[in-house]
């Protein structure tokens, strides 16, 4: 990108291109002048409006003021607007001198002409729905109907299109654009031959091949990750790791399957709100959670939660609306007709997420879901099948027809073979009329509970009741200790706390608010386990999918492996491990043991449990599943026995039956098979990656206008809504939530969405959008270089079903795209940015492609679609002195091994605060916010990186070897082959001469220095046969030079 205006360059909007004698157009010529110079004080922001004058509407500009109207249509000399613009009196002059704004004489002339011609206002072009325009007359040059606009505009400016690029050049360009890689020499040969044989069809088929390649989705995704601010860390100064790669893989998949773009929008905005959303729909909503999340201790929670909501609005504005919405966060927009109220109505859609400001120190922030990969989903389906058939294999009622007494006798024999596991540290017993810890009688304090004796279960404690606490010496309920807690319980319904030692410091933002451990039962009967350093953000929270039934004795056990993660916790209900839903898995450090309250919770909102406990036991170890199952069965047998058989057996008939199957010889194996499959399913589920998603709060959070954008300055309440009068009515019947918002955004008459999207794809190909300000289509945007073309493409996109592959196909097959990219003399000064497209696109490759291309041509590249992000080489000490001094995941770079060292750059772990240097130096944004336009710079650090980065040096080593092996028999052939591999063409004779010259010089140099040659091979990560070190070193150096060629890293 060029950053200096070039004298004499043609300018697209304004006088330079307004053909002499043609009428002035408000949108093209006048609005940019007024917007830049006047609207700041005379626009729609009433709070800041000066002199009661607004110039953004005809009514406002022609209103009678004290000194007469600012604008008198047809009478420039009577219009105060023009007088002020031309005044030299500092008190009169507009814009005022202190504003640092200035109107040029050419602009004054335009304003004068506009007023003379009647001072007509137009609605801002981008707020009018795009229409099919009448194409200019077709010509032979055109390959797409819309090429006519490019050609006719060039003609109008007295320019001609450039000649067509060679087939090879086109294929290289299209391959980079559609797949991110250059074509191989074989593909180039094949294509050239095909063009000779089949002409135009060869081009079309080549495009189909490229679009069908899975590389296409990866390439398209790379662009979207910038806009969607994807990263593998949370940002801010802790910047620890998050897991969002399942969302990234969803994007790849969406592009590869050519998901219609309106669906692409809808699923990412509101996949969770679709009727019966699929897992993939929910994963897609990760888009709304890609923003940075702050876990700095002591921040004010609401302040940051508000930032996240604002980020969603900003991202929506940037990516799909093309409006700088955030300007309206603190005040009415200075330029665009968007008020602060409009802003907060849009904000209200995104303000319903059950989330916290401080979260994500160690893992994903809530809300999150498990997001199994395709392979895992297949495994799960298989296991489900196995479990279903194993269950089917069991006889349904094997106890049928047997006397209950016989069944019970059998069971009681079976369960009494082995005693309870030894080593319990705590066990309630009753001795001499007193309660004691049967495991350690000397530690029996605190057991002064009122109890009744149960014939089967021993002492039974009824709740609610007065305090019963268990000392840490009796139950070390620490998060990072192994333990097993088991109890019988009969729950009477309602939400209740079984065990808790949560400490609640006030206020809520306190760092230790909700610190401790808790086991609860919810109203539906699910058992929930919580462990928190700071509830709810730095916590584990999970609940069983199995529900307890009220008024029935159950046996439950919670087992902790001491890993401090949800995967280390198991909950057993009646001896069977239950599946769990993990709501949060971000415990940020150990929670130590503290005295536990049984059956109640202290703190600001005390809660109790209604029901009974019995047989409360704790082991300072992980008990095997078999032991837990047997103890549950034993409880069952005793219960039935004590009840005199029938009553309890009827209540617990399901348990009786499954226990019987488990111990009976004829069914034991089948039961075992089922249990193994079930255990494998649970194990598999524990390995599912998680992904943060959007969700709606059960009870909507009220939204207010925030005065000056401050989180704690609530203004008037607002409800979800969109600027309907500006951008179109709310679709009839659409729900007032994110789904409705998506429907509104993608309705066919929406003036902005399709234009913004199409413009961005155009920018991706041509390096600059038809509207240069890809993120802003408002009043301050640049008037499009080809407005009719933009409308045509947008209309075609909408009416053609939002088909992205169609759009890409249309572009790369166009005559506009197929032009040669070299810059004819004179064109550089006339049109330095190639806005008129009098030549093909030509610019440096993005960071990802530079590295990927080097890996590909050297043969180092390892391709695998999707998966967790990888850690290719990076300087070992890069984080030294910079990264936070804490052992959070993501604060250390653990270099990958094997294939993962050489994956596509799309998969490189993205740490926001210290991005990978190869990416960073080639202009990737840091992704703390979304970005739809990368800068494109040219710096010495880029040169140093290409010259010396170790992985690129290894690419040079391997490329050198490859050239020697595959490039042919002579130096000249090899040099030509290598040159073609990297640049896509054969060298000219002059270039071949230079290559040969350098080769000879290097040969002389390395022949005289065998140590240097060996060192060079080592740098290149290659070895050579005896006596060949010098020669291989030469090829390594030559290959490095090839990778450094401007043409190698340029799409031309």
């Amino acid at each position: 990108m060029r950053f200096f205006p070039i004298v004499g360059a043609l300018w697209l909007a304004g006088a330079a291109v307004c053909p002499a004698g043609s009428p002035v157009r408000f949108n093209r010529d006048i609005r940019p002048i007024l917007s830049e110079n006047c609207f700041h004080c005379h626009g729609q922001d009433a709070a800041r409006r000066k002199a009661d004058l607004r110039l953004d509407t005809f009514e406002g500009a022609t209103a009678m003021l004290e000194d007469g109207p600012a604008l008198v249509p047809g009478k420039p000399e009577n219009s105060a607007l023009l007088q002020r613009m031309t005044s030299h009196d500092p008190d009169e002059q507009m814009p005022p001198p202190e504003s640092n704004r200035k109107v040029t004489p050419a602009q004054v002339a335009l304003v004068r002409q506009w007023i003379a011609e009647g001072a007509a206002y137009e609605k801002h072009w981008a707020f009018v729905p795009p229409v099919w325009g009448a194409l200019p007359p077709a010509a032979a040059w055109d390959r797409q109907p819309w090429d006519a606009w490019i050609r006719s505009r060039l003609e109008r400016d007295g320019l001609a299109p450039s000649p067509e690029a060679t087939p090879e050049a086109w294929l290289r360009r299209a391959s980079f654009d559609l797949t991110g890689f250059a074509p191989t020499p074989a593909a180039l040969d094949g294509f050239t031959g095909d063009v000779i044989a089949r002409g135009e069809s060869a081009y079309r088929d080549a495009v189909e091949r490229l679009l069908a390649s899975p590389r296409y989705g990866e390439r398209m995704t790379a662009e979207w990750l910038d806009a969607a601010r994807y990263a593998d860390t949370h940002g801010f100064n802790n910047d620890s790791m998050r897991s969002m790669w399942r969302w990234r893989d969803w994007v790849i998949d969406a592009f590869n399957h050519n998901l219609p773009y309106n669906q692409f929008i809808t699923r990412q905005l509101a996949g969770d709100l679709l009727p019966e959303p699929a897992l993939e729909d929910r994963i897609a909503t990760g888009f709304g959670r890609n923003h940075v999340i702050n876990s700095e201790g002591g921040i004010i929670d609401e302040e940051y939660r508000v930032e996240y909501v604002a980020d969603r609005v900003r991202t929506l504005g940037m990516t799909w609306l093309g409006l700088t919405m955030e300007c309206s966060r603190c005040h009415d927009h200075k330029y665009d007709p968007v008020t602060a109220k409009d802003y907060y109505q849009l904000y209200a859609f995104f303000n319903q997420v059950p989330e916290w400001g401080e979260d994500g120190r160690l893992a994903n922030a809530s809300p999150l879901i498990p997001a199994p990969t395709g392979v895992q989903q297949a495994e799960l389906a298989l296991l489900n099948q196995q479990i279903a058939s194993a269950a089917q294999a069991l006889p349904e009622a094997s106890t049928a027809g047997r006397p209950l007494a016989e069944v019970l006798a059998f069971l009681s024999r079976a369960v009494s073979v082995q005693p309870d596991p030894a080593g319990a540290g705590f066990r309630v017993e009753r001795k001499d009329g007193k309660l004691i810890n049967g495991a350690k009688p000397e530690e029996s304090s605190g057991l002064d509970q009122k109890v009744t004796d149960h014939p089967a279960l021993g002492p039974v404690f009824a709740f609610p009741a007065a305090a019963w606490t268990v000392a840490p010496s009796q139950f070390e309920a620490g998060s990072h200790k192994a333990w097993t807690w088991q109890t019988s319980l009969r729950w009477r319904g309602g939400e209740g706390v079984l065990l808790s030692n949560m400490a609640w410091q006030i206020p809520v933002s306190s760092v230790s608010h909700g610190n401790g451990f808790e086991i609860r039962i919810n109203a539906a009967g699910a058992v929930e386990v919580r462990m928190a350093q700071k509830w709810p953000a730095y916590a584990i929270q999970l609940e069983t999918t199995t529900a307890l039934r009220p008024d029935r004795w159950h046996q439950i056990a919670v087992v902790n492996h001491g890993t401090g993660t949800a995967a280390g916790l198991r909950v057993y209900v009646d001896g069977v491990e239950s599946d769990v839903v993990v709501h949060h898995d971000g415990l940020s450090g150990p929670v130590g043991p503290r005295a536990l309250s049984v059956g109640r919770k202290e703190g600001p909102e005390p809660e109790a449990y209604e029901g009974d406990f019995a047989g409360f036991q704790v082991w300072p170890a992980v008990l095997p599943a078999d032991d837990l199952a047997r103890m549950a069965d034993r409880q069952l047998v005793r219960l039935i026995g004590a009840s005199g058989g029938m009553p309890e057996a009827l209540v617990q008939l399901d348990r009786v039956q499954s226990a019987f199957l488990r111990y009976q010889d004829s069914t034991r194996e089948a039961v075992q098979a089922l249990r193994v499959a079930q255990a494998r399913r649970l194990e598999l589920k524990r390995k599912f990656p998680s992904v943060m998603v959007m969700a709606e709060m059960a009870k909507p959070r009220p939204t207010h206008v925030l005065l000056r954008g401050n989180y704690d300055a609530l203004g008037e309440p607002v409800t979800p809504g969109v600027p309907e009068s500006l951008l179109g009515a709310w679709p009839p019947g659409a729900p007032r939530n994110r789904l409705g918002l998506a429907q509104w955004l993608t309705q066919p008459g929406h003036p902005l969405t399709a234009r913004v999207v199409v413009n961005r794809f155009w920018q991706q190909i041509f390096g600059i959008g038809l509207v240069k300000t890809a993120e802003d289509f408002g009043f301050q945007s640049e008037y499009p270089a080809h407005p009719e073309l933009l409308d045509w493409l947008a209309r075609d996109f909408i009416d053609g079903g939002w088909n992205v592959k169609d759009l890409m196909r249309s572009i790369v097959l166009s005559a506009t795209y197929r032009q040669d990219s070299s810059i004819a003399p004179g064109l550089l000064t006339r049109d330095p940015e190639n806005r008129l497209l009098g030549r093909g696109p030509r610019f440096r490759l993005p960071a990802e492609m530079i590295r990927d291309h080097a890996l590909a041509v050297s043969g180092l590249l390892r391709e695998r679609l999707g998966g967790p992000s990888v850690f290719p080489d990076q300087p070992e000490d890069l984080y030294k002195g910079v990264v936070v001094d804490a052992d959070y995941p993501g604060t250390k770079w653990l270099t990958s091994t094997g294939d993962d060292l050489y994956r596509r750059s799309l998969y490189t772990f993205w740490k926001r605060t210290v991005p990978h240097p190869v990416m960073n130096v080639f202009d990737t944004p840091d992704r703390e916010f979304g970005c739809v336009r990368r800068s494109r710079t040219n710096t010495p650090l880029q040169a140093l990186t290409l010259m010396n980065e170790p992985a690129l040096m290894r690419a040079a080593g391997h490329l050198g070897q490859r050239i020697q092996a595959e490039g042919g028999g002579t130096d000249a052939a090899r040099l030509a082959w290598g040159f073609r591999l990297t640049t896509g063409r054969l060298p000219t004779p002059r270039e071949a001469e230079v290559l040969a010259k350098v080769q000879n010089q290097l040969r002389a140099s390395y022949q005289a220095d065998s140590a240097g040659a060996e060192a060079m091979l080592k740098s290149g990560g290659v070895s050579a046969a005896a006596g060949q070190a010098g020669e291989s070193a030469v090829w390594t150096a030559l290959a490095s030079n090839l990778l450094n060629l401007d043409e190698t890293i340029t799409k031309n």
Binding site: E296, T913, N938, M947, M1016, N1052
Partner: protein, 479 residues
């Protein structure tokens, strides 16, 4: 286009003719500004007026150094030891989540004494004996204030003018506005150090020296304390200097042919960037090579300067960068977030920074560089006048405090031997001459000849500047 400011045109022209390329000089310099192969660069019309300073050395103390122990003595705190902070003083101040649960905001005096120093009689802490000796060079600002109370937003505000990420850093603005005066070194360089002992705690963020929405070539270049001082600077083993020259000549020739064929000025720029890279391979090691520094240098900066990566080393390097015309030299020293263990950690931190910071000022002065070098020493906020945890005469801590904090400046046309601003007797509120972060930025730019309201960049439909829509030059600081 500022070709006339290009002082060393000859070398490149020689190179270009050597490689047989007919490059348009105008086109070349047009494409390269700021940190690039072109000397000069920068915006036309800048500086807006005659600058007092040509460069800035910012000695950033990351984490929030306690003003009450270092720069702002408050005897009243000792008299009212352990009393509750009066509500009338506290006002509406937000309290961070870290002490909001404390029952009491107990007043905590400094354990460390202060002295009136030099002819100017400035108050400076005994923790800073070397700084005490240069008191007459310093302008101590005791009335700094900021909007943020947590590290990330506060440090981001101080370094970019906004609490939220995404804006260019101070150095990036300067590189964009003023360009470079040295064609062999980046104009904006960064060095990061950690305490010699104890935890470095809060992390830094590369956005602090990033370019935000400015083109990324304006971002700071980190000079690292390793043997590859700029990333990938060293040629791979097996590529000698001569071979690199030979390779680059070949590369330039091929790129030159490509330029002729394509007509693309970017190719010319690329050739020049490779030459700049080649020069940096010599100039950066030369910058970092301290073997010729005499013993008196080590006496001045302290033996810690022999330790690569130390703050002392970085101060010495900063002087060498200043000599070589680097425009914005940014140092960070971490570890000042002394919540609970202030009394354990402060002696270490002051030991790390006091001598070298004072040495730098002394060294610049004796070399005649202080007049046009602005040195700034300070962090992102101060610390509370009440204790975090309980008040204690010997061992205590303090929480974050943004309502007032202190920093010092020296050289660069700032009034030496002065104090600016006044805080109340609790060191909690400012009672006279507040200086907001935006005001500091406006003043800094002013010293470099820049009107902070006129250094703008258009992004997303509006003109942005370092000072957002705020900031005023603090004239009282300027000599």
């Amino acid at each position: 286009m500022d070709c006339h400011r290009y002082e060393n045109w000859g070398t490149r022209r020689e190179f270009l003719s050597r490689t047989g390329l007919g490059l348009g000089a105008a086109a070349l310099s047009q494409l390269m500004g700021g940190f690039s192969a072109s000397a000069a660069g920068g915006l036309p019309g800048l500086p807006h007026f005659a600058p007092k300073a040509k460069r800035v050395i910012y000695l950033f103390q990351s984490g929030g150094p306690p003003h009450l122990e270092l720069f702002d003595p408050k005897p009243l705190l000792s008299e009212r030891f352990d009393e509750e902070l009066p509500a009338s003083v506290r006002g509406t101040q937000r309290i961070t989540g870290m002490v909001s649960a404390q029952g009491k905001l107990a007043l905590q005096p400094s354990k460390y004494a202060f002295q009136r120093c030099g002819q100017s009689g400035q108050w400076l802490s005994d923790l800073l004996p070397h700084t005490q000796k240069i008191a007459d060079e310093l302008c101590v600002v005791r009335s700094m204030h900021t909007d943020a109370i947590n590290h990330d937003p506060a440090i981001t505000l101080l370094q970019t003018g906004s609490q939220q990420p995404g804006r260019p850093s101070i150095g990036a603005w300067l590189d964009y506005g003023l360009g470079s005066v040295n064609e062999n070194l980046p104009s904006y360089m960064v060095m990061c150090s950690v305490p010699s002992k104890g935890p470095p705690d809060q992390g830094l963020l590369s956005r602090l020296w990033g370019s935000g929405f400015l083109p990324s070539r304006h971002q700071g270049v980190q000079l690292r304390g390793t043997n590859d001082p700029v990333l990938y600077l060293n040629d791979a083993p097996g590529i000698s200097r001569e071979r690199r020259r030979l390779m680059l000549d070949g590369l330039a020739e091929l790129n030159g042919i490509q330029h002729a064929a394509s007509g693309d000025p970017e190719v010319e720029a690329r050739i020049a960037q490779y030459e700049m890279a080649f020069r940096m391979q010599a100039s950066v090691p030369d910058l970092a090579d301290l073997s010729k520094e005499p013993q008196e240098t080590w006496d001045l900066y302290g033996e810690a300067a022999r330790q690569p990566g130390s703050f002392a080393r970085h101060c010495l390097l900063a002087r060498r960068m200043a000599e070589r015309g680097v425009g914005f030299i940014q140092l960070y020293h971490r570890g000042w977030d002394v919540h609970g263990g202030l009394t354990d950690r402060l002696p270490v931190l002051c030991g790390d920074v006091d001598q070298p910071a004072a040495a730098l000022v002394t060294d610049l002065k004796r070399r005649g560089l202080l007049d046009d070098t602005l040195v700034i020493f300070g962090g992102e906020f101060g610390r509370t006048c009440y204790a975090q945890g309980g008040a204690n005469r010997e061992k205590y801590g303090r929480d974050h405090h943004g309502r007032c904090f202190s920093l010092w400046m020296a050289g660069g046309g700032i009034k030496p031997g002065t104090s600016h601003g006044l805080t109340d007797d609790f060191g909690f509120n400012i009672v006279q001459d507040p200086v907001h972060v935006h005001d500091l930025h406006a003043t800094l730019l002013h010293q470099l000849g820049i009107d902070h309201e006129r250094l703008t960049y258009r992004f997303q439909g509006r003109q942005f500047r370092l000072t957002d829509v705020h900031g005023k030059v603090v004239k009282a600081l300027i000599s």
